[in-house]
């Protein structure tokens, strides 16, 4: 695959050297565009924070204290739902492209022995990583943090274990369950609140904090497993 790409690159480079004029004119145009943008930005008045004031005024009703989490999971939760669904679709397509039913569903065993110091270091390190992930998930309601950050950090812990050559063994149904869990929980909550409030994703007063936490926990599991599956499946290419 890369041979084709490198051959194509050489052809492209060869063609481009013949058209220095086009490249120069593009460079000049881009420089002019950048200069005009900076000039306009420097001259224009700072934007009036109308939406920010509206959002901050409603912050007490959102169930969380962190404005970013309030926007992500309350004001604009439809966007976040679509983001998580997007991740779900990507993992599904990657899984269906690279999953081999003839192989064992478990991750392949490492091909080398890890050093004893690395193994003992990991034994202390991995619980700490999971603890940090849980902290980020919980603190997302009050301070910077949240499901994406927590999921990414726990997944990086898993990847560290795989990189040093240790197996991570768990039953294969956890994969299937956790991939779907984030989207399924989000959609279930969205439809369930529609019965009480009439529109989807409008949390009933008082229950917003619990529902947001439920969605975030499910999304964290889903994101963790999705990123870890990216790593595993790409390693199999």
């Amino acid at each position: 695959m890369f041979k084709d790409i490198s051959v194509n690159n050489q052809q492209v480079v060869h063609r481009d050297t013949q058209s220095v004029v086009i490249r120069l004119s593009i460079a000049v145009l881009m420089a002019a565009l950048c200069a005009i943008t900076i000039y306009v930005l420097a001259l224009s008045e700072p934007a009036q924070p109308i939406l920010r004031n509206l959002a901050l005024a409603q912050l007490d009703n959102t169930g969380v204290d962190n404005p970013v989490t309030a926007v992500l999971l309350n004001f604009r939760s439809y966007d976040t739902l679509l983001e998580i669904a997007l991740l779900y679709v990507v993992v599904l397509s990657l899984y269906s492209c690279l999953f081999n039913p003839n192989e064992s569903n478990l991750p392949p065993l490492p091909t080398f022995e890890s050093h004893v110091i690395v193994r003992h270091f990991l034994r202390a390190f991995i619980p700490l990583i999971i603890l940090i992930g849980g902290y980020l998930l919980w603190t997302g309601a009050y301070e910077p943090g949240g499901a994406f950050q927590a999921g990414a950090i726990i997944a990086s812990g898993f990847i560290v274990v795989r990189v040093v050559g240790e197996p991570i063994i768990y039953p294969p149904w956890i994969d299937t369950l956790c991939i779907a869990l984030g989207t399924a929980t989000f959609v279930a909550v969205a439809i369930a609140v529609a019965f009480f409030e009439g529109t989807i994703l409008t949390y009933p007063a008082g229950s917003a904090a619990g529902l947001i936490l439920l969605i975030e926990i499910a999304a964290t599991l889903s994101i963790t497993l999705s990123l870890y599956i990216f790593y595993r499946m790409l390693g199999r290419l």
């Binding site: 994406f148 990414a152 990216f230 790409l234």
Partner: protein, 85 residues
């Protein structure tokens, strides 16, 4: 004053690292530069007071994306001149 200086250095560094990564002849070098780019962008988000995005960028942009790129680079039969630094 010192903050402006930091911002200017950060912007120049980001553009420089991005250019180096895009124009690098070797894929491995390009990936490592891309991870450095992620770290610098993290610092830029911190300077913009966007701590949420800074954490996500450090974990996903600098960490996991780099690992994914490296792991998808490794097993392919890349021409040797592209894997050497």
């Amino acid at each position: 004053m010192i903050n402006t200086l930091i911002d200017i250095c950060l912007c120049a560094g980001i553009i420089m690292i991005a250019t180096m990564s895009l124009t690098s002849q070797y894929l491995f070098k390009a990936i490592v530069l891309f991870m450095c780019f992620g770290i610098l962008v993290t610092l830029a988000w911190v300077r913009l007071n966007a701590w949420d995005i800074a954490i996500a960028e450090a974990a996903i942009g600098a960490g996991i994306t780099g690992v994914l790129l490296l792991v998808s680079l490794k097993p392919n039969s890349v021409p040797k001149k592209q894997t050497e630094l």
